[in-house]
């Protein structure tokens, strides 16, 4: 078994100190060590976006990040975003627009949508589509996900 590392970081606004294996991914840490299961394992190879988290304001695939590299960073997961006003607006828009079916990819999409709109509150439809390109959904055909994100952008104007 690999060496253990102590790390300190901010998770969803709360300072955390935890011990993780040096080879553990950030995905496994949030799910298995910290018990936050909203972040999903979809592929483990950075290809599907189901495990999207935000680190220092930038979204990334948590399956590709070492947990140890969260040390000193500001990490947000879907649980943190969902408790935030902006997260609520996204959630409500996803619900109202019918952007959720099986829902397994949805937390990743909500995280990425938040990032897209933080970077560009006026994102056009094409920019939104580009912005969520790295997230896969097998149920919805994406149309309603794009509409949901555009709906939040429009409401903010």
């Amino acid at each position: 078994m690999s060496a253990m590392v102590d790390i300190t970081f901010k998770l969803n606004g709360i300072n955390r100190k935890t011990r993780v294996s040096a080879t553990m991914s950030a995905l496994d840490m949030v799910r298995d060590v910290l018990g936050l299961t909203g972040t999903k394992y979809g592929c483990g190879e950075g290809e599907c976006g189901a495990c999207t988290i935000s680190v220092d304001g930038i979204t990334l695939n948590s399956c590709l990040m070492f947990a140890a590299d969260c040390d000193g960073r500001d990490v947000m997961t879907i649980e943190g975003l969902a408790a935030d006003r902006k997260g609520e607006a996204l959630r409500d828009s996803f619900v109202e627009h019918g952007a959720v079916q099986c829902g397994f990819c949805t937390p990743g999409f909500v995280m990425q949508a938040h990032h897209v709109l933080e970077k560009n509150p006026d994102a056009s439809e094409a920019e939104i589509q580009r912005g969520i390109e790295g997230n896969l959904c097998r149920c919805t055909g994406y149309r309603k996900i794009v509409d949901a994100i555009a709906g939040v952008a429009a409401a903010a104007k």
Partner: protein, 807 residues
């Protein structure tokens, strides 16, 4: 909170406009939880004391197992059990043809084959232990093309097992193939005929023959497969399972374990996508159960994504040859179809998809004389299961491309040719299907109009030789699919228990599972419609076999229709009970009363007589105390097919036409879908938001089938078991989707509705093939239409698809 306001808004309108929720845009009831990351899928559930299991799969495509040594794995700290077939002496065969054991004994027949399994304290330890298991193989010849498997002297995929008596299955009637072996490589055959083929041929002015080759694709559910198994101290089994058919599986697991089905409880956590992949038992499920039994601990087994690609089912590859005739006026005379299906190494539902394919072949259009012969053939490839559309993507691809070729041969516009032969309401086909509601012609004309089909089709065909390398084309395709259940099992029914508590809150307990398709919401709508209640008054319980009444399962686009009728039946019984008691209380008749907006009302005046919750309490807490709880079982008025595959298997049939416009870059072979104009006969729209989502999602799944998805199997090995190389459609690639719903108001459907789940994925590939032809004059006969394949076809570098029948 906007969501609640939106729902309230819907409800307020509902009360104001006469109380209907039908046809409205109703947000899914489970969506807020899912969008907040709070929904617990099987991957998110962990039981105290739980062990983690992993499976050792074959390192060879086809081989004898000479020796397995698990001693080093067993010695690894943290390992609780390592099992092989030798540790489970009474394994029961699984699969549709009962042709394999969960843990393989003397040989492996594909790379997914399960050789051993480990239960350990952690996933990491279990994986480490797998590496310590030593297996000696003796390679056998690999069969990776079903045509090779059919050749005389081809090696057998299922020879008689070691230790058998050399008599094969003919001396042991009823014994599973897993025990007897099989004398040839044919897993299943279907032969269907109607009319008189000789007469059909004699009446034909034109005969067209085509061959098509269709590829492997797989479900790619975003949530990978998983199961948790736990035995209690009395030997009762609790399974957390992603199955789509909990009640059927309960029986199968009971057979497997030799215990009473009543001792098996299946809980279905929300699932990360199904699409038909979870209709059969796969080896990982019995393996987790064996490990739980041996370790006496809860055992959780979850796939990796690579494992999901390698060891979950596929849509089966099919070779098809069609020959059809028509008269000079375009009237179809006969159709003759042969198909060979790559069954893979074992038989799951994929082998039975000809049931559905023959419906399209015989009955999408009026074909008086028809024959269909099919063989599902064993190979050492991955084995095929059921997948949204169930053979109909393959059948429709071939039939609809073929119809365009026939239209051209007879000199008719493809739309006119289809309209000439399209089914109409009231038609009973020679196969026995009764099209009581049929919006096919409306679908054809609506899709054509929205896609400006006739004009564009004419114009595009004049531009094949234009210098512009970017070509545009339109193509159309239509489909017929079951829309009122499918009578495959002894019952195609669904039970409902409906409980109204003393606050007039309804608990709808239904056998039908939610798999993301939105059944929870639609069933609640139907109940609210009967009881005059807002959606917020309903809780749905649909995922626990100890509680829910029987249902055959989520498949065949049946849930809205079957479970919907069942829910309505239970709600009507409850309503009748309430109104009967209210009539006595108000000294009137039940017929004079109704339920609206949470009140018992006087029907004539609309006057509110009493709050429903108060009425229920007065029933409950009176001298003649009574609970309002009803049950209802709905069995559709469909019929089993006879031995000749004739019969009206569905209580209703769904229709659709899609016109697809593509752009083809002739310099690169890249095909882009610009617009899909879809018209679907859905009977009636119940939840507009939900049905749009089903159709959009289905179209994009069909787009993947047509253009990008290709599970590349070479010599039995999957070359691209990951999302980087198995290309799903992404958000920037989706087309404009113009969706029309044809409301044919089916007489048997719940509020007139029919099934829709599978339909939207079915037409896409055929319409794209027809559109590529319209753009370029080149006919694509092999899927998927990747840039390379299209480029080769456009530049004369593709070998034409040939039918090499091995008979």
């Amino acid at each position: 909170m906007a969501v609640k306001e939106a729902v309230k808004d819907t409800e307020a309108k509902t009360a104001a406009d006469g109380g209907t929720l039908i046809g409205k845009r109703i947000p899914k009831m489970d969506a807020p939880m899912k969008a907040s990351g709070k929904t617990r899928y099987i991957h998110d559930i962990n039981l105290p004391g739980q062990l983690h299991a992993k499976i050792l799969r074959s390192a060879r495509v086809h081989a004898r197992i000479k020796k397995i040594d698990t001693s080093k794995a067993k010695a690894l700290p943290g390992v609780h059990a390592v099992i092989t077939a030798a540790d489970v002496p009474n394994q029961h065969p699984i699969g549709v043809a009962k042709d394999h054991l969960p843990l393989k004994t003397d040989r492996v027949r594909s790379l997914r084959d399960e050789i051993a399994a480990v239960a350990a304290d952690s996933v990491e330890i279990a994986e480490e232990a797998l590496k310590l298991i030593e297996v000696e193989y003796e390679d056998l010849p690999i069969l990776s093309d079903p045509r090779d498997s059919l050749k005389a002297n081809a090696p057998l995929i299922h020879p008689e097992p070691h230790g058998a008596d050399g008599t094969h299955d003919h001396l042991k009637q009823g014994m599973p193939i897993a025990y007897t072996g099989k004398k040839d490589n044919i897993a299943m055959t279907f032969d269907y005929a109607q009319g008189d083929m000789a007469q059909g041929k004699a009446e034909s002015d034109i005969i067209v023959e085509d061959c098509f080759s269709l590829h492997y694709v797989t479900h790619c559910c975003m949530g990978v497969s998983g199961v948790i198994a736990e035995f209690d101290s009395s030997g009762n089994l609790l399974l957390y399972s992603n199955t789509q058919v909990p009640f059927l599986h309960r029986r199968e697991f009971a057979d497997l374990l030799g215990i009473d089905p009543g001792r098996i409880r299946i809980i279905q956590p929300p699932i990360g996508g199904g699409f038909g992949s979870k209709l059969d038992i796969y080896p990982f499920e019995p393996i987790a159960i064996y490990l739980a039994r041996i370790t006496k601990r809860p055992v959780k087994l979850v796939f990796s994504r690579e494992e999901e690609f390698v060891a979950s089912p596929t849509r089966q590859p099919v070779l098809l040859r069609l020959r059809s005739g028509c008269k000079k006026d375009g009237t179809l005379t006969f159709r003759e179809v042969d198909t060979i299906h790559d069954n893979g190494a074992y038989t799951s539902w994929g082998a039975t998809t000809p049931f559905v394919m023959m419906q399209t072949i015989s009955s999408l259009y009026r074909v008086p004389h028809c024959s269909y012969h099919t063989k599902a053939v064993y190979t050492n490839n991955p084995y095929a299961g059921s997948f949204r559309g169930y053979g109909n993507l393959q059948a429709t691809f071939a039939v609809e491309a073929h119809m365009d070729r026939m239209a051209e041969a007879v000199g008719m516009d493809p739309l006119a040719f289809r309209l000439k032969n399209a089914q109409e309401p009231g038609e009973v086909t020679p196969q026995g299907m009764n099209f009581k509601s049929c919006g096919f012609k409306d679908c054809l004309t609506t899709a054509a109009e929205h896609g400006d089909y006739e004009r564009k089709h004419r114009d595009n065909a004049t531009k094949w030789n234009d210098p512009n390398p970017i070509k545009r084309g339109v193509g159309m395709a239509s489909m017929l699919h079951v829309g009122g259940g499918a009578k495959i099992y002894q019952s195609d029914g669904c039970g409902t228990i409906l409980k109204i508590d003393d606050f007039a809150h309804v608990t709808l307990i239904t056998g039908a599972s939610e798999i993301g398709q939105g059944s929870e919401t639609v069933l609640s709508q139907l109940v609210c419609e009967e009881l005059g209640l807002p959606l917020s008054a309903v809780t749905v319980v649909n995922n626990d076999t100890d509680i829910t009444p029987w249902d055959v399962g989520v498949h065949a686009s049946r849930t809205t229709f079957i479970a919907g009728n069942s829910a309505i039946g239970a709600a009507r019984k409850a309503k009748s009970k309430i109104l009967g008691m209210a009539a006595a209380k108000f000294d009137t008749t039940a017929e004079a009363l109704d339920l609206r907006g949470g009140f018992v009302i006087d029907k004539a005046s609309g006057k509110r007589l009493v709050d429903l919750s108060k009425m229920i309490r007065s029933l409950h807490f009176s001298d003649k105390a009574e609970l309002v709880m009803t049950t209802f079982y709905y069995e559709p008025p469909s019929r089993h097919q006879d031995r000749e595959f004739k019969g009206d298997v569905s209580a209703a049939y769904a229709w659709a036409s899609q016109v697809i416009e593509v752009e083809v870059d002739t310099k690169t072979g890249i095909v882009k879908i610009v617009k899909v104009s879809a018209a679907h006969d859905v009977g009636r729209v119940l939840n507009r938001l939900g049905i749009e989502g089903q159709v959009e999602g289905g179209i994009v799944m069909g787009q993947g089938y047509a253009l990008t998805e290709d599970l590349m199997v070479e010599n039995g090995t999957i070359r691209n078991p990951n999302f980087r190389d198995y290309k799903l459609v992404t958000a920037p690639e989706i087309p404009e989707m113009d969706i029309s719903f044809i409301e044919s108001m089916d007489g048997e459907g719940p509020q007139g509705a029919k099934g829709v789940g599978e339909a939207p994925a079915i037409c896409v590939a055929a319409a794209v093939a027809n559109a590529i032809y319209n753009a370029t004059g080149v006919r694509m006969t092999e899927l998927p239409f990747t840039p390379e394949r299209v480029y080769r076809a456009l530049h004369g570098k593709a070998a034409p698809m040939t039918w090499s029948d091995a008979e």
